[in-house]
């Protein structure tokens, strides 16, 4: 592949890398797995890049490939995840700006989200990213109505995890 293509890809990926980081944070539980998944997503994006036409935004296109990689292509390492790693990796609540009650709630919320299955995580991720239901449905390949129904069920599920 031409050097220009490579350069353009690397530049755009560097600018949009937070999308991938966010997906990695949701789908992995420690630093090593985060790096691992980041690399696999980067490879898959690069492989798909020749088919990427400028008519869509790079970020929109990257969302789909990255999510698909996390849900479908990526093989989790079989290493068991220690809670210490998990807590260190997943939370970034800045102490000054939340009161302790909110902070506690956030911690529980992050923990609850991590307990969801891969598909539910994808829905929550797109919800947090302010994607509309049309895009959520298209990305996952389900109907819009059912995407809404599922989202409501996930909210219910999270509530249950938080208030058993």
């Amino acid at each position: 592949m031409s050097e220009n293509l490579e350069q353009s890809f690397v530049q755009q990926l560097r600018q949009n890398q937070n999308i991938i980081h966010k997906i990695c944070r949701l789908y992995t539980s420690d630093e090593d797995a985060h790096k691992d998944l980041f690399q696999e997503i980067t490879i898959q994006l690069w492989k798909a890049f020749p088919k990427f036409r400028g008519d869509a935004k790079f970020s929109t296109w990257a969302y789909r490939v990255a999510l698909n990689t996390a849900i479908t292509l990526y093989r989790k390492s079989t290493r068991s995840v220690s809670t210490v790693d998990y807590e260190k990796h997943s939370f970034f609540i800045s102490q000054e700006e939340y009161n302790s009650e909110e902070e506690e709630q956030l911690k529980l919320m992050y923990k609850a989200v991590h307990q969801l299955n891969d598909i539910e995580k994808a829905l929550i991720f797109m919800y947090l990213e302010d994607k509309d239901y049309t895009e959520i449905a298209e990305t996952l390949g389900i109907s819009e109505v059912n995407a809404r129904v599922k989202m409501n069920r996930i909210k219910g599920k999270l509530k249950k995890i938080l208030n058993p």
Binding site: V10, T42, K47, R75, E102, S143
Partner: protein
């Protein structure tokens, strides 16, 4: 849901808190090999096809037929071999077509479907080979029983024929069973996550 709003707020606020990866590192990454499930399935599938093609290539019944003075059967076996090659090539083309169709740009559900489709092609290929083995074993046994004078002599006594048939049946069942178990294990481990997520997606649209 109040907590979810809180989460969203935190999510947005910390959007830029990740340790950034440099362009140099991204360059390095794109030159590394993928370790995705598709890659693994591709490698295993190619190995399977080579293995089965290899087995059928080295298997030659001509010598036996000449030795037992049944040369007229050689032609029949030649047709079977040609038929076999045509089927194998068809399978390989089908597999290649399915593999090329796998794209990370399609929807998650479609992507999963496409991956499972390549798997299915190889699965049918393996079953075809197992069936061929079973059939050729049966033909082989029948030929040996009816053509080989030494076996003829042996089986004319007592219940020897019955015992031989039972023995051959057990052989075939065991061989097919071992392969079946092997594939169940191999792909069970490999595709567990994929199947789980695929069923989860299918459930949403029920």
């Amino acid at each position: 849901m109040e907590e979810l709003d809180l989460l969203k707020k935190d999510w947005k606020k910390n959007e830029n808190s990740f340790q950034q990866i440099s362009e140099v590192d991204i360059y390095k990454m794109i030159h590394k090999k993928s370790s995705s499930i598709v890659k693994l399935i591709l490698i295993i599938s190619i190995l399977e096809m080579v293995l089965w093609a290899g087995i059928s290539m080295f298997y030659n019944s001509d010598d036996y037929l000449i030795k037992t003075h049944n040369e007229y059967l050689i032609d029949y076996f030649k047709y079977i071999t040609i038929f076999n090659y045509v089927v194998v090539i068809a399978f390989i083309l089908m597999f290649y077509k399915n593999y090329r169709a796998i794209s990370t740009i399609t929807s998650t559900k479609q992507l999963m479907k496409d991956i499972l489709k390549t798997r299915k092609t190889v699965k049918w290929y393996v079953w075809y080979n197992l069936a061929m083995i079973a059939v050729s074993m049966v033909i082989g046994f029948v030929l040996v029983f009816s053509l080989d004078p030494r076996i003829h002599q042996l089986t004319s006594k007592h219940n020897a024929l019955l015992i031989m048939i039972a023995f051959c049946t057990i052989c075939i069942v065991v061989i097919v069973g071992v392969f079946w178990l092997f594939y169940r294990l191999l792909y069970g481990i490999l595709l567990r996550k994929l199947y789980k997520n695929y069923n989860e997606l299918k459930k949403i649209d029920l």
